[in-house]
Amino acid sequence: MQSAARPLAQEQLARYDRDPASILQMLRNLQLQQNGIRPSDIETLSEGLNVPATKIKSLIDFYSFLHDRPRGSYDIYLSDSITDRMLGGREVAWTLCRELGVRLGEPRPDGMVTVSTTSCTGLCERGPAAIVDGLAIERVDVERAREMARLIKAGAPVDEWPLDWFLIDDEIHRKGPLLDADREPGAATERAIKLGPYMTLAELQVAGLRGCGGAGFETHQKWNLCRSAIADRRFVICNADEGEPGTFKDRALLNAYTDMLLEGMAVCAVTIGATRGFIYLRHEYEFLRDRIERRIQRRRDKGLLGRNILGHHGIDFDIEVYMGAGSYVCGEESALIESLEGHRGIPRIRPPFPVTNGYLGKPTVVNNVETLCYAAGILEQGPGFVANDGDEPGWKLLSISGDCAKPGIYEIPLGMPVRDVLAMCEAENVQAVQVGGPGGTLISADEFDRRVSFNDLNTAGAFIIFDESRDMLEVALNFTHFFAHESCGFCTPCRVGTKLMAQMADKLAEGHGARLDIEQMRRLHKIMTQASHCGLGQVAAVPILTAYEKFPDDFQRRMDDVDFQPTFDVEAAIERSKQIVREEEAAR
C-alpha cells in the first residue's frame, strides 16, 4: 500500500499545478481516495508545494473530514443534527455500531469500517442522513442501517449499493417567482451587459434584494463597494457552504437550479468586473459536484462562460468549484476566503471587508446561492420579478424540517406569519419553531403571529418545527454542542465559552443544575456576545438560554430548588474512588 502513496500525492500536485492555494483540494482528494492522509503524502506535498509539514498537519487537524490516521475502508458519517435525532438517528447509530461491531468514532481493528457522527449534513427533511465514502445517503432508518451493515459485511463496494439510497431528491412544495421561473440561458447576463453596471445595480436596488445567507446586507451595495474598489482583479464567490443546521434550500437550488446560479454569478461578474468565480461547496454536497461542473462546462461550450462571454469582446469570466472539508465556520465569508486560499478557516479581522480586501487581497463579492439566483431573475425580468402583495418586498426560500406532514422547500413572500407557514406544511400540535438555525430565534406557540422577515424573524432558510412531544432542553443541548464542536478556536470567549456552555448545559440535562449555573451562563453569554470575533461565538449561548426562558418546565423538572450544585457529580466520584479500594481488596 505504502508504495502507492507517492504517486497519488504526486498526481494531486500535478493536477493542481503545484498551487499551494489548492492544498485543501489535494488533501481532500487523498482522503477520499485512500481513507486517510499518510505521513508520506504530507512529506510529498510539503516538498512539492514548499509548505511546512506542520501547516499541512494543521489543516488536517482543523477540517473534520480530513484525518492523518486511516479511517475504515467503509468510511461512514452519521448526521447528528437535531432533525436527524428527531427521526431516530441515535437508534440508527447504535444499530449500525452493534451490527458492525465498532465503537462510534473508532475504526474497527481490522480497518474495515469507521462510523462517526458529524454536524448537520443538510438532508434534514430526509434524515436520518449518512455520508459513506463521501456520498450522501438519505433516510437511514434502522432497517436501512441493518441493510448497510449486511452489505459491508458482504464486502459489497459502495457503488453497488442500492442506487435509490443516493438519489437525493428535493421536495419543493411551494413555488414563487424563483422556483417557478422559466429561464433563457444567458438572457440575464446579456441584459446586465447591455444595461451596464449603474443600471444593473439600480435594478437590484429597486427590487430591494438583500443577502439570503443570514446577514441580509443589501446586494446592490455590496456589489457597488466591490466595483468601486481600486484593483486589477476582482472575484465572485458563491457561498454554498450551507452549514447552518436545518438549512437545505441551497442544496435544492444547486441541484435543480444550477443554471440560474451560474447565471447570477455571471451577472455579478459583468457588473463588478470580475474575471474569476468560485463556488465554495461544502464537503457534504459532493454528490452535487459533478452536476455543477457539467453545467459549467455546458455554459462554456455555449459561450456563456469563458472568454468573450456572449460574444462581447473583453468580457471574460469563468467559474471553478472548490470543495470544503468539514467546518461550519467556513460559511463565514472571510473564513471562507481563508479556506479558499488553502488555510485554516479562521475569520479575518474586519475591517477591511472582502468587498475591498477579499480573495488574494483583491475586492471580492461573497454571496449566498439564493441571493445570486434572485439576482439572475431580477436581471432577466426586471425588479418586478420579486414583487409581492405584502408590505415587504422580496421572497425567501424556507427549508422546513422537523414535526410536520410536508417538510421540504417553500418559497414564501417575506412577511408571512409563522402561523401560515405552519398551516402550509401541515404541522400540528406545535410547541416551538426554530426560525434560522441554532443561531436563529426560538419561538413558542404564543409568538406564531410573528413574521418571517428581515425586520422580525430573520432566517437564512432554516425553519425547524417541534411538536409538543419534544424536549426543548434536548434540542438546545444539541445546538450548544454543535457550536462547541464548530468553534474555530481563534478567540478566547468562543473557544473557552462554547465549551463551558456545553459543560453547563450537560450539567443541567443530567439533573445537577442549580440557579447559580443559570446566572453563570447568562454572564458567559454576555461576554460571548460582546467580545467574540465572529458570529458563531456571538450566538453560541443563545439556544440554551432562550430554551430556558421559553420552556422553563423542561429545565426545572431536572433541577433541584437550590442555589448551588457542585460542578461534577461528587457522589459518583466518591463511588469511583471506593471502587479502587474494592478492586484492590479483591485482588489480594
Binding site: 506542520t54 479581522i349 478556536g489 465559552g497 463551558l500 447559580l516 479500594v581
Partner: protein, 421 residues
C-alpha cells in the same frame, strides 16, 4: 494637525494609521491585553482589550483610531468581562502559579491581579497536553499556553524561522512545532531567538532561569504600591448580632498548613483579633468538632479525598460565609499537579513501584479516606463566598480581610496583597 480620540474622558492624540491600542499605549493609557505586542501585527484573539468604541464593543488592537472616537475602557462593565476572560484562560489551562517559573513575570497573572481576579469561577478543564522538554535551553509547557500566537509571529516575522504553528480547532487547538520530530530539539530554535523570550506566560520558557529572581524583584512586583489594581473583590454582608463576637472556624484540606502558619504570622495582632473573634472548630485551638453555628469558615487546601468532602460540606452547613484561603483552595494548587495522572498509576507509583518501597501494597484500611480521581478547588464542591489568594496569602492579607469583616466593611485587597504565589 494633531487629531484626537477620547479614552475614558481623556483626550489622546493619534497618528495616521494607528490603532486605538497604539494611540493609548503612546499616551500612557493602559488597556489590558495579552496577545498584543507593539512589535507585531495585531492578532486580535485574546479579546482582553475589548473597549466600547462609539458605543460598540470592539478589540482596540485591531480598530483604527478615527478622529473624534469616544472610547470607554476602564469601566466596571468592561473590566468584569475582562476578568471573566482571564478566568476562562485559567480554566482552560493548568495555571498553578505557585509552582510556575514565570510567576511574578507573567502577563496573564499580572492582568488577573490588576482586574482583581481572586476566584476561578469556572470549572477547570484539566488539559493534559504534551510538554516538550527536548530542547537544551527552552521548555514548552503547553498546559500554560493561551494561544496568543506571539511565538508564532516572532519566529516567522523576526527570527525568519517559522518554527511555531497553531493546529486544530475548538478545544483541540494546539501549538505545534515545525521540525522533523515535531519537537523543539531539531527545530532550529535558539535561545537568542525572539520567539524564545516573547511568550507572555509560562508556556515557552528558558531553562535554568526559573525562580532566579527573588520575590520582590520580579517584573510585576514593581507594580506593588502603584495602585495598578482596577477593582477589589466583594464579600457578601454578614448579618450580625451587635456586641457579639464573630465565630470563626478554620480547616486544612489538601493543603500544607502553610496558610495556617501565615495566619499565625499576624503575630501579636492575634491578641487584638480575639477581642472580636472567637475560634470554633480549628487546628489552631485543636477543636475537632463544631460547637455551634459559625460566622466565618476559612478553608485551606483543595479537595483530594472523601474526608475532605465531608469536612467541607460540614463547614458549608455551619458557616455563614465561606472563604477559600490560598492557592490550593482556590485552584487545587500544588496537589492538583497530579490531576493529569491516572489515580491507579499514582497509587501504584506511591505504594508499589516507588523508589525505596519494598513489598508495598495499596492501603485499603477502612479508617483511611478514599483518594479522588482529581484534586478540585473548593468552589467546585460547595458555594464559596470570598477568595483570598496567595501561596500562602500574607499575614497582612489575612489580617486585612478579617479586620474588614469585623469592622463590617468590604475587604480591600490592593495589588500589594494580591498574590497567586
Amino acid at each position: 494637525m494633531t487629531r484626537w480620540i477620547t479614552i475614558d474622558g481623556r483626550a489622546v492624540p493619534f497618528a495616521d494609521g494607528q490603532t486605538v491600542m497604539q494611540a493609548a499605549t503612546d499616551a500612557g493609557v493602559f488597556i489590558p491585553h495579552l496577545c498584543y505586542h507593539p512589535d507585531y501585527a495585531a492578532n486580535g484573539s485574546c479579546k482582553m482589550c475589548t473597549c466600547k468604541i462609539n458605543g460598540r464593543q470592539m478589540s482596540s488592537c485591531t480598530t483604527r483610531a478615527v478622529e473624534g472616537q469616544v472610547i470607554e475602557s476602564n469601566t466596571e462593565e468592561l473590566n468584569s468581562e475582562r476578568r471573566a476572560l482571564a478566568q476562562m484562560l485559567f480554566a482552560e489551562g493548568n495555571h498553578h502559579c505557585p509552582s510556575c517559573e514565570e510567576s511574578g513575570n507573567c502577563v496573564l497573572q499580572n492582568m488577573a491581579y490588576r482586574l482583581g481576579m481572586t476566584a476561578l469561577m469556572f470549572p477547570n478543564f484539566h488539559p493534559g497536553r504534551a510538554t516538550d522538554a527536548t530542547h537544551p535551553d527552552v521548555l514548552l509547557n503547553r498546559d500554560r499556553c493561551i494561544y496568543c500566537e506571539l511565538c508564532v509571529r516572532a519566529s516567522r516575522d523576526t527570527d525568519g524561522k517559522d518554527i511555531f504553528c497553531i493546529s486544530g480547532r475548538s478545544e483541540n487547538k494546539s501549538l505545534t512545532i515545525n521540525s522533523d520530530s515535531g519537537t523543539l530539539a531539531d527545530s532550529g530554535l535558539s535561545i537568542d531567538d525572539k520567539a524564545a523570550e516573547v511568550c507572555p506566560v509560562g508556556a515557552l520558557i528558558k531553562k535554568r532561569e526559573g525562580f532566579k529572581q527573588p520575590i520582590g524583584e520580579r517584573e510585576f512586583d514593581r507594580l506593588q504600591g502603584s495602585g495598578a489594581q482596577i477593582r477589589a473583590p466583594r464579600m457578601p454582608k454578614l448579618i450580625r448580632e451587635p456586641g457579639k463576637k464573630l465565630k470563626l472556624a478554620t480547616c486544612s484540606l489538601a493543603g500544607c498548613f502553610g496558610c495556617h502558619m501565615s495566619f499565625l504570622d499576624i503575630d501579636e495582632r492575634i491578641l487584638e483579633l480575639v477581642e472580636h473573634v472567637e475560634f470554633d472548630r480549628s487546628p489552631l485551638d485543636d477543636l475537632k468538632e463544631f460547637t455551634g453555628e459559625c460566622d466565618i469558615g476559612l478553608i485551606e487546601g483543595g479537595v483530594c479525598n472523601t474526608e475532605n468532602i465531608e469536612t467541607l460540606r460540614e463547614f458549608r452547613k455551619r458557616c455563614k460565609v465561606i472563604i477559600a484561603v490560598g492557592a490550593c483552595a482556590i485552584s487545587g494548587g500544588v496537589p492538583a499537579l497530579r490531576n493529569t495522572i491516572d489515580v491507579r498509576e499514582l497509587l501504584e507509583e506511591t505504594y508499589i513501584n516507588g523508589m525505596g518501597v519494598d513489598n508495598g501494597q495499596i492501603p485499603t484500611d477502612p479508617e483511611l479516606p478514599h483518594i479522588l480521581e482529581r484534586v478540585s478547588p473548593v468552589h467546585e464542591v460547595v458555594k464559596v463566598d470570598f477568595f483570598l489568594p496567595g501561596c500562602p496569602p500574607s499575614a497582612d492579607a489575612i489580617w486585612r480581610v478579617l479586620t474588614s469583616v469585623v469592622a463590617d466593611e468590604q475587604p480591600n485587597l490592593p495589588y500589594d496583597l494580591m498574590h497567586f504565589d
